[in-house]
Amino acid sequence: MMIEEFREIYRKRYQHLGAEARRRKVVGWVCTYVPQEIIYAAGMLPTRIVGTPGTTPHADSLLYSNTCSFVRYYLEEGLKGCYGFLSGFVTADGCMQTRRAMDTWVHQVKTPFNYFLNLPHSLSELSLDFFKAEVALFRDRLAEFFEVEVSDRELRQAIEVYNRSRALLKKLWLLRAHEAPPLTGAEALEVFMAGTVLDRARYNELLEKLLEELTPGQGSGNKRIRLLVLGSELDDSGFIELIEEAGALVVTDDLCTGTRTFWEPVDTQKPPLEALAEHYLSRVACPRVLPEERRLAFLEELIALFQVKGVIYQRLKWCHLHGGMLPLFRRHFEEKGFPFLAVERDYALTSAGQLRTRVEAFLEGIAWVV
């Protein structure tokens, strides 16, 4: 099964990335607002920085208790030397937690190239102009540091490769709109995460094979309650699995490890840097980028398209962005009488029993309505 292959790639990511780093430079990025195409166009392999659930003694010795567990776990990986193969580390101003984590990363992990990308928090002509300049400056600084050329031609090629990924992922996601999706939500997340490790061209080949293997409408999801999951960074398929074991099927999401990153392609008709800046700033937003009405409209679109019956808003503890926006989302769904469950979680899947109970109770409530 292809899905097993994706799972294994992500599971053995350090092995894979370490081998890649012997052939070319590997640059880690944290926030999905970092235009990976620029790193790829520079002949390097972009990879998403993530953590590994376990203990975090190195990070704990430095961080205050209110550091979100996603940051705590990936800093632990950096401090332990798991990311020693990186030539660069890039983050965008996506949230306070990751921005501050960069301070610690720069001073403790000491990756050769470190870059911080300013990110406007609202969408306007003005903010777009500013972001275009920031994206162009990132390209220049990357090229200057590594003494490479990142021309428009290479950027166009990178955009094509990444757009192909976007199209394939969207096609895969749309299979989940069927009544009996051929893959579960947990499996979809595993497929997605493999893409954060692999070279995109190779990833596209694997995605194509997977799509050939899957038959639309022939899956195990029939009759299960269809859910949408949104909220904080989520790369652990175990969390989705837990929800699905409780009797639901996660058919879609509003996550930075999901639809937000691939729903729309980058415009290939415009000059590449301009197109990248436009795409990243104006695509489906995380709560950092306002106005939130765009996101609410997108959620409604997904709910209709994927025949969603309930929404789970999962929030990493200490995620102030999702923590401060929760009343807004709750009110939006409650006013419509749409089932909505908010849960707080840790990056590592702790309190699984409690979570399972809450999800089961939520699903029972929906079953009455449906």
Partner: protein, 417 residues
């Protein structure tokens, strides 16, 4: 607390200052300035004028030049906590779904909004600075009221001159956008001559503050108490551009200069000097007095003052000057990447001859907590000890004040002495 109550509170404070501390002209001016602000707000409310909610980091000069009343709800909440009020709104916000780990001032803001405790906004102007709590809770409040909004993005200074200049220019252009937004909202037109006057006053006031910090507070013994420094500098944002703030800053400068020249100090027997970073327990600022009285220790360097930018001398482009001043304010710069302020911070620690740093952290502030890690490492390398005190600026229930004091007392007794 309704605005009427706050007006009464400051009338009482003003009377008290006049009676008990008539020699401190700056303090009287400061209290008068705050009273005038709340009276103006009350008048706006009574006369049905549009009132705009703003985050504290949004500069006030434009509003002043357009004669638009503003309300800074999170600061108002902190003000409420000084008279032991507002906790019911913290609880209410959580009942509405706000995450409990959001900064208490912003929880109070949202709870107060839901309870209709505050003056309702005609519009809400949010910002990326100071934090994610501000950004997300302001967005939720705007959604709750269903009012229009405008966002100001403070692109963070990285220490690279070209990028920092671009950040100022970008902020300036957003201020222009803010003017258009306000013109449409209120029907008032910006009088650019008036704006120029306001900005000139504002930059003059700012230059006094910079001089107090850079020229005078380094003196041993330090001429201003920690509490005076914190109170005076920390809450000026809503007053920039007023005649009162200019008069206040000038008076404070002259009083401080006279103290330095006369070798006077509020704490003549100053034995130790520390730096205070992070938030403050607004509900019990006497904690800072105890440091002074019980340990003969002063705070010449603090969170609100530790990174003062140079005076903004060129006001030929008023909006650019406002942008530069705003983005260069210490509490704003504290949000920037550590690498952009590291050198300056460590230089100031040396120049102010501080022997230790008290870092007041609270779970609601990912910013101050996050930057504390590399700061502490650097201070350790310099041989300057750091104490982390857990607290909360708004909510005394989080960590009892006596527990906070015990840690500070131990630190000053065993490490600094």
């Amino acid at each position: 607390m309704k605005i009427e109550g706050m007006v009464e509170e400051f009338r009482g404070r003003l009377e008290h200052t006049r009676k008990r501390q008539p020699y401190l002209r700056s303090k009287e001016l400061f209290t008068q300035m705050k009273l005038n602000y709340f009276e103006r707000l009350l008048r706006a409310q009574q006369e049905g004028e549009p009132i705009v909610w703003v985050v504290w980091s949004i500069p006030s000069e434009i509003f002043l030049a357009m004669d638009i009343a503003t309300f800074i709800p999170e600061q108002y909440c902190l003000q409420m906590s000084t008279v032991d009020q507002g906790l019911e709104f913290v609880d209410l916000a959580q009942a509405e779904g706000m995450a409990p780990e959001i900064c208490g001032a912003f929880l109070c803001l949202y709870g107060g909004a839901v309870a209709r405790e505050f003056v309702p906004p005609a519009a809400i102007i949010g910002s990326s600075v100071p934090c994610d709590s501000a950004l997300s809770v302001f967005a939720s409040a705007r959604n709750f009221y269903g009012c229009p909004g405008y966002e100001l993005h403070a692109a963070l200074w990285t220490g690279e001159k070209d990028r920092d200049r671009a950040s100022i220019e970008y902020y300036k252009r957003q201020l222009q956008g803010k003017i258009h937004f306000l013109e449409e909202l209120t029907g008032k037109k910006m009088d650019y001559d008036k704006l120029r006057e306001v900005v000139e006053r504002s930059m003059k006031a700012h230059s006094y503050l910079v001089r107090i910090q850079q020229e005078l507070r380094k003196a041993v013994p330090t001429p201003i108490t920690g509490r005076e420094g914190i109170a005076s500098f920390g809450i000026l944002f809503q007053f920039w551009g007023t005649q009162e703030v200019l008069e206040y800053c000038q008076t404070l400068y002259e009083e401080t200069k006279a103290r330095v020249e006369g070798g006077e100090a509020p704490l003549a027997e100053e034995e130790h000097r520390i730096c205070w970073l992070g938030a403050y327990p607004y509900y019990d600022m006497k904690l800072l007095d105890r440091i002074k009285v019980e340990h003969h220790t002063e705070i010449p360097l603090d969170f609100n003052n530790f990174l003062f930018e140079y005076p903004v001398e060129d006001t030929s482009d008023p909006l650019r000057a406002v942008a530069q001043r705003t983005l260069g304010m210490p509490a704003v710069r504290f949000v920037y990447p550590y690498s952009s302020l590291r050198h300056e911070f460590l230089t100031q620690v040396r120049e102010f001859q501080v022997e230790g740093v008290i870092y007041y952290l609270h779970f609601g502030c990912a910013n101050t907590a996050g930057i504390s890690a590399p700061m502490r490492e650097d201070l350790k390398a310099m041989g300057v000890p750091t104490l982390v005190v857990d607290g909360a600026p708004m909510d005394r229930r989080v960590v009892p004040v006596e527990e906070q004091w015990r840690k500070i007392d131990d630190f000053l007794t065993t490490v600094i002495k």
